[in-house]
Point group: none
Amino acid sequence: MRKGERRKQELLQIAYRMFITRGYENTGVEDIIEEAGIAKGTYYYYFESKEQTLEEVIGMMIDEEMEAAKEIAASDISVPQKIVGIISAARPTQEEQPIEGALMRPENVLMHNKIRQKLMSDMVPILAKVVEEGINEKIFDCDNIPERVRMMLVVSGEIFDEGQFTERDVEVFIDMTEKLLGAKSGTMNFINKLIKR
Amino acid sequence: MRKGERRKQELLQIAYRMFITRGYENTGVEDIIEEAGIAKGTYYYYFESKEQTLEEVIGMMIDEEMEAAKEIAASDISVPQKIVGIISAARPTQEEQPIEGALMRPENVLMHNKIRQKLMSDMVPILAKVVEEGINEKIFDCDNIPERVRMMLVVSGEIFDEGQFTERDVEVFIDMTEKLLGAKSGTMNFINKLIKR
Amino acid sequence: MRKGERRKQELLQIAYRMFITRGYENTGVEDIIEEAGIAKGTYYYYFESKEQTLEEVIGMMIDEEMEAAKEIAASDISVPQKIVGIISAARPTQEEQPIEGALMRPENVLMHNKIRQKLMSDMVPILAKVVEEGINEKIFDCDNIPERVRMMLVVSGEIFDEGQFTERDVEVFIDMTEKLLGAKSGTMNFINKLIKR
Amino acid sequence: MRKGERRKQELLQIAYRMFITRGYENTGVEDIIEEAGIAKGTYYYYFESKEQTLEEVIGMMIDEEMEAAKEIAASDISVPQKIVGIISAARPTQEEQPIEGALMRPENVLMHNKIRQKLMSDMVPILAKVVEEGINEKIFDCDNIPERVRMMLVVSGEIFDEGQFTERDVEVFIDMTEKLLGAKSGTMNFINKLIKR
DNA sequence: GATGAATGAGTATTCATTCAT
DNA sequence: GATGAATGAATACTCATTCAT
């Protein structure tokens, strides 16, 4: 059982890497088992189906990001810094995105979408809480918090995932975020230093 | 010549409808020709490939929406009204979206993406011009216009395409739009009456 | 493993027979699997492609003929008899050529060519050795052995494969062979009795 | 009619060039009409079928070579020179073989075969006559002339068409030819100077 | 836990040929 | 003489999944 679990984790890692590198649709079960050095039957011993594998891969991915997000939310850095940190955590890290813009490639559109949807719904409550914290601290001033948070995430995903954004994009994003949350101008300005590529 | 052109339009319409209804990937060339009552050879007489067909279908779709957008931009309604009108034009109309949320279904994710990308790049310049008009009229006040416009489109696409949005979403969207463009609060308030479902 | 190997041999035999009987181009994968009573997937489990199958079929065929040729070369019959025997071995046997002149039919031209080329290059060295043996025994007297051997094979292939040759053809072939190798007239005369149809 | 004839010749030339350059099987009717700038219907107005076109193309080709062969046979150079000249005429000239070894490529195997067969049967009688002339002049001494001539042609075709032959091949070919025809050693030696590449 | 032989539904594309105008 | 829209038979290959051992 222990052993089996470890094996499964291994397979998940491999599938994960391959899905991101070559795209879900372009990765055959054959490819995965070859890379893993196991037989076909073994693969189906661990996974119900290829789609199920994708689901688990995404779950694994998001879990990690959620973990990070929660840690940030619980830490004692300033509220604006928490927000930026969490949003950054929601972006596929370099390790996860071995090829620049991989998630944007048409063959990855399906996976990207699933990730986005799950990320979106999981992230909103955490961020909302932080925003509320900010309101209590009089740093922010707004209503309809979950809706506002969602929009922030939508924009950040669309703009930053692509990997093709300019300094102006960041500038506008900062401005938008501040206004969306009812913060004083300049509150989030430090993002500039973080997100810059 | 005439005849051929008309035939092609017909086929395009059929393909269009089927792609949206059942999804691009789920629609076989077989299905299309059966619906159209033509032979396989005829299909390939008009289209290079299935993918090429998709490209043309999307082109057709966007062209219509661009047409509408340009008309609105040129009309003499108020600037805020133009903006709302154009953004609305960019959303698939009911006729185009026979099944609620069709574009959101996983099998349509590819098509949806292509549409979005093309729409995004085509729409930004038109909207940007209208915003400039608004700035000249002192209704708006902002810089980095294309970036701002793009963010508006991103949000509107993500929120409204889904078909699953609340009154609060609209409210926040209005607020965001006004602030993004540097308009006085209430300027865009009339959206409420338009977009409501 | 055993099982798989045997199955593959079986399939190879079937493909072989069909390619020769109906021609490579006229034999569909469909035909083969129907005859073999297997599913399409099974076919592609064993073979990379139809072309690859042809390659293996030819390999198999040649291997058998090479085997025979080597045995003949190693036996202790006279050198001229060895030469005739090897050349005969290089001709598709009756079992291999179920329909008279099948290899000559236009639909078989591709296969025939591949066979010829491989046969040619594999056979030359063996025959050359035998000729050298003959030279040592003072039965033959010539230089440029590989070139001479090749010409013999070319002629024998072209003339005899067709299945349409006369006694005169054989006569001239004998004469040519003797002179090509620098043998005394009459040395190879016994061919007459062997090759006659 | 005149005009039609000329048009057909034009088409034949084009088809000819394309068949040789790209292979018969790789040349679509589409390709031919595009190159010729005519409509599909027009093509089928002039040719019964694609295969018929090939037949005519080959006929045209051979006719030219036969013409040359006959001229050589009727000229008053020496008999050995006639033989060499005719054999050379039977080889596709440079103009006809724009790409080295084109006829040897697998996609040309069909055409190559048809050419060979027709050439073979048409060439034998002419060459046979010249050999008889040589016998009368006591230069040659042999029987079974057509069979011997055929073998010469077979070898020359196989060896020289390929374009990959060595000096030794030529040497052996000369030797073989002389012996096959019962000529004195050295009679055909001048070939060396002609065929050399 | 692990294997690997066997499956079979699913699919886009090619191309020579015809015929009404 | 010439057109070009329409045909439709023909075909190789993929790949996730199963199951007896």
